[in-house]
Amino acid sequence: MLSIKNLEAGYGKVKVLHGISIDVPKGQVITLIGSNGAGKTTTMRAITGMIKPTAGEVTLAGEKIDGSESHTIARLGLAHSPEGRRVFTTMSVSDNLLLGAFPRFTGSRPKGDIKSDLERALEMFPRLKERRNQLAGTLSGGEQQMLAMARAVMLNPEIILLDEPSMGLAPILVEEVFRIISNLKSQGVTMLLVEQFAAAALNVADYGYVLENGKIATHGPASKLQDDPAVKAAYLGGSGH
């Protein structure tokens, strides 16, 4: 579904990614873990067009998307729940969800039944249902995370990219988030999950990649990585090992 080959990217003079390759097969949940500053969010941004990669290739369902604009990539069916949620704070919950389906309104994606999808999304995220007309800016961190994920689902996407969904959330909300991710997985949704909470991520994923200083240090089936001592070290260790 999503294929990344030798991706290099950075910000101005600072090169963050030094050639990484990741493969996300259809129907699977792949996780990208690593400590702060390893380059996880940079990877997400480079895939979704928020920054332009300096080298390498990204293909979505066979189509080349590296170098494309965010909106083009979204219209091809890639939904992104970004780091920091980035919900539209001055708009209501339901408006946020409707905007998630924007390409369906304009015809870039198959229309389907947007209204009933909206109701289904609210069923899947009960906290949002109670607050459907509330301004997104007044929601708590956890609720905003739910909203960002529901918004991504509204696209009826080919793949969802989740960037640090657990960040800044209390443990009980983290559990809820991962329950929802599990739920989506059981519905066959393809996902690329970037996480700081390695344990939870590896629990729900099929396969994992460990990012260290802009390079893939190790990768393998999630169950194998869970027992790997090097993974734990990469976490609280940072560089220099």
Binding site: G37, A198, A199, A200, L236, G237
Partner: protein, 642 residues
């Protein structure tokens, strides 16, 4: 400046003074006079536009205030020119200060609007206050008298030329002094400027005041030159014309100001004569075409990039042949010239000429400034901290709460930083570490709680005052003064060592020259300490990332701090860079400076910190020696997860 470099300037000055002797036609002398007067104004405008980097549409208004001060004092009180010149400068400077007040907190388009409003009000007031200014009737002035006899055309020209030379020297000295550096720092990073002890508010006012002074001087000379002033001259169109002049001539350049002044004076005259305009337009089109061909053949540009400017000048020449009268289209031509300059000539004619020459001649010159000095090892770059009472409490953070709306970025956090130690502050993203830095340096005012530095509360103090009292910092996203050289960046940090004022600078009095010299030596020593002395004249934005971070540390040291706050100094650094960083940190600590260090790189934290505090969700969850903290269950949980 060496004599060789000064030679062309001296020749130009001599030629200038010979002008009225060689050309007898008073019309041309008057034109040259107007160019000189506008040059003085553009010197002043350049401070705001070139150095502080803002758009000012108010300088026609200031120009008018200068002219009318002279006019009113002449008309109502019969003052001679020797009195009206200083009066015009002072009065206009005061108005410049008034203009600066609403402009203090704003930048960009808001600042431009403030200046536009000011200029509009100035013109309205001049027009309406007829009891003072005679309103639309205007004021007539007679030639100033020299020893009882009115000056003739040549004598007044020499006066104007002389004043212009003095203005040139003054402005050159201002912009090369600590004042000019403060203006540029203001432009490049207001936050860093404040945190280096250079108050943004204060220097904005100073910039506008000095700029207005020059405008007032120009206005006064203009009044006597035209011998008649009326309100409708000082309109918004003139203000835009001044902007066009300085941008087209070249910002941050005296020659640019002169070229710009010449363009805005001569261009309308050129446009009045359609035949002359046709000739000039055709010549320009041919020159640009030749230049484009040369540049293309040397492969320094692409066809796409030359297409539009080339089409523009050729189109202009064609347009001029089609019309009978081009002076009606004067303003459109100015408008197109602004568009051209904004997109294709960002550095003005002077800048363009420089880079064109360099690309053709094959030189690459990325450095600026005078010759590099060799660092003198005997100059101590770090003043050893007076109070070496290691272990005593230097900074106390007392139950600080920092709330943004509903979000508690810092929730009841207390810290005790001991003198002479390196205190680490770690935690996951969003835990409040940078927020703490910003509270300590006065960028945020805490919602509750107190911060005591050496026993005194710093809550509510400005960042600039806090910096000057001994707390220096670096930033997570490097906040260097990008367009200034490495050396100049450090010199801004040394601003606090300068006690000299405008007069000292203008006259190059010993107090100023001594301070400047000492500051340079100290700055070079600091550069050498961080290993950047060979890059002293390199623009900060061109330095490699790792070196930029070291430069920021050196700049912070220039403040002679007791407490140094480093925000993720190792971020993005390679392993050898990190080793160098640690060496530098230890050396600084040895001279008695206390550190607070935010870091994610655990090996840095482990190897250099004496104590570590851990934040999570805005609260302190652990504190102690690095090894203890690393093994702490709560800390592992916060970083790793369940």
């Amino acid at each position: 400046m060496k004599l060789k470099a000064q030679l062309p300037l001296l020749v130009a000055i001599v030629a200038l003074f010979c002008l009225p002797l060689l050309i007898q036609n008073p019309y041309y002398i008057h034109l040259a006079e107007t160019i000189l007067i506008y040059t003085i104004l553009l010197f002043g405008l350049d401070i705001v536009v070139g150095y502080v980097g803002q758009v000012s549409l108010g300088h026609a208004g200031l120009f008018g205030i200068g002219s009318y001060t002279a006019g009113v004092l002449f008309f109502h009180m019969g003052w001679p020119i020797w009195a009206t010149i200083p009066a015009s400068i002072v009065v206009t400077a005061i108005f410049g200060g008034i203009l600066a007040l609403p402009a203090l907190k704003v930048v960009g388009p808001y600042l431009a609007m403030v200046t536009l409003a000011f200029g509009t009000i100035a013109q309205i007031l001049i027009n309406e206050m007829t009891w003072l200014t005679e309103g639309p009737l205007g004021i007539k002035l007679t030639r100033p008298e020299l020893m009882g006899v009115p000056m003739d055309k040549a004598e007044y020209f020499w006066l104007v030329a002389g004043v212009m030379i003095l203005a040139l020297i003054a402005i050159d000295r201002f912009v090369k002094s600590q004042m000019g550096r403060a203006f540029e720092a203001l432009r490049d990073s207001p936050v860093a400027c404040d945190c280096m002890g250079v108050s943004v508010y204060r220097f904005k006012v100073i910039a506008f005041v000095i700029s207005a002074g020059f405008a007032g001087l120009a206005g006064c000379l203009y009044a006597y030159s035209e011998q008649y002033i009326s309100p409708n001259t000082y309109n918004n169109e003139l203000a835009v014309l001044f902007l066009l002049g300085i941008i087209m001539g070249g910002r941050k350049s005296r020659l640019g100001a002169a070229i710009g002044a010449a363009i805005i004076v001569l261009l309308p005259k050129l446009l009045d004569d359609i035949n002359l305009f046709r000739i000039v337009a055709s010549v320009i089109a041919v020159v640009v075409a030749i230049g484009a061909v040369m540049a293309l053949s040397k492969k320094v540009t692409t066809p796409r990039r030359v297409a539009i400017p080339l089409a523009g000048v050729v189109g202009l020449a064609a347009f001029s042949f089609w019309l009978d009268n081009i002076s009606d289209w004067r303003l459109s031509i100015f408008g197109f010239m602004i568009l051209l300059v904004v997109y294709y000539l960002q550095n003005g004619i002077v800048g363009f000429a420089k880079s064109f020459y360099q690309s053709i001649a094959g030189k690459t010159k990325t450095t600026r400034g005078d010759a590099v000095e060799v660092a003198d090892d005997s100059v101590s770059f770090i003043s050893t901290v007076a109070n070496q009472n290691t272990g005593a409490e230097l900074l106390k953070v007392d139950s600080v709460l920092m709330q943004f709306g509903g979000l508690k970025a810092l929730n009841n956090v207390s810290l005790s930083i001991k003198r002479g130690t390196i205190h680490g502050l770690i935690g996951p993203n969003g835990s409040g570490k940078s927020t703490m830095m910003n509270v300590l340096t006065g960028i945020y005012v805490p919602t509750a709680g107190n911060v005591l530095y050496a026993g005194n509360s710093v809550v509510g103090k400005t960042s600039s005052d806090i910096a000057l009292s001994g707390i220096a910092r670096t930033f997570q996203n490097v906040q260097l003064f990008g367009e200034m050289t490495a050396l100049q960046n450090i010199m801004v940090g040394l601003h606090h060592t300068f006690k000299s004022n405008i007069l000292d600078i203008a006259l190059h009095l010993p107090r100023y020259t001594k301070e400047e010299q000492e500051a340079r030596a100290r700055a070079m020593a600091l550069l050498k300490f961080v290993g950047l002395d060979d890059l002293a004249n390199e623009e900060a934005r061109n330095l490699p990332y790792g070196k930029q971070r070291l430069l920021e540390i050196a700049r912070a040291l220039a403040l002679d701090p007791e407490l140094l706050l480093l925000d993720e100094p190792a971020a993005g650094l390679t392993a050898p860079d990190i080793k160098e960083l640690l060496r530098i940190i230890r050396k600084i600590r040895d001279s008695g400076i206390t550190f607070i260090l935010i870091e994610h790189h655990m090996d840095v934290v482990m190897s250099v910190c004496d104590t570590v505090s851990v934040l999570d969700f805005g609260q302190k969850i652990a504190e102690g020696k690095p090894a203890e903290v690393q093994a702490d269950e709560k800390v592992i949980h916060a970083y790793l997860g369940a």
